[in-house]
Symmetry: C2
Subunit: 101 residues, 2 copies
DNA sequence: TATTTAATTAGTTATTTGTATAATTAAACA
DNA sequence: TGTTTAATTATACAAATAACTAATTAAATA
């Protein structure tokens, strides 16, 4: 839901977490090491990102590994597309077989 | 700046205002007529949208006409693209002369 | 010029939010 | 099994936010 997505994105620490996860999965501890902020605060930020489905998490033994959810980002982009007037750039792309080039 | 954009988008009334302006320009009064909310509150929402450059405004006599700023929406979409791994879909589109179809 | 209309600015208040510390859960291991 | 490590949950509090009413600005017009 877009409400939770925009809520999650309305914080620079959370946006920074996404930029970290963009480069690869990371545990909660690895993420919190990148910030001057308590672990519980980071945990809370991760929770909001998860509520927005922007990240997913998976327990690995003692650790919790977080991953970015690219699908949710695509859906968010789609929400923005609603505002764009019809234009060639957005029409379904015509795919030409590679052999033609 | 993305900070002000996400701040502006993190409110359902402001998102609704964008959806109204998507259909065409409107005065502050026309916009506030669509809400069960005081005029000053709407004025404040419009101010935040303007700070984020998501809308522009122009005085027309006694009225203030608001317009959606599609360019800012494009820039926001670009911000999201940063997260997407390189893929064919995002590479610059190869344009084929119409005569080929 | 006095009044009406459109909109914003000023000031207030209840709610939400971001952060911290303390307490708890759960896994690893000596 | 007792201790350490990783992470979350619980709780509290200051700061930010969204809403309101009242006051102000500015344009139109009787």
């Amino acid at each position: 839901m877009m409400k939770s997505v925009f809520k999650a994105l309305n914080d620079s620490s959370r946006r920074e977490i996404l930029e970290i996860l963009r480069l690869g999965d990371a545990t909660a501890g690895e993420i919190s090491d990148r910030f001057n902020m308590s672990k519980p605060s980071i945990s809370h930020h991760l929770d909001l990102l998860r509520q927005a489905d922007l990240v997913s998490s998976k327990k690995k033994g003692q650790f919790v590994v977080y991953s970015i959810n690219l699908l949710a980002l695509d859906e968010t982009i789609s929400w923005f597309q609603m505002f764009k007037p019809e234009s060639i750039a957005e029409k379904p792309r015509i795919r030409i077989p590679l052999s033609q080039y």
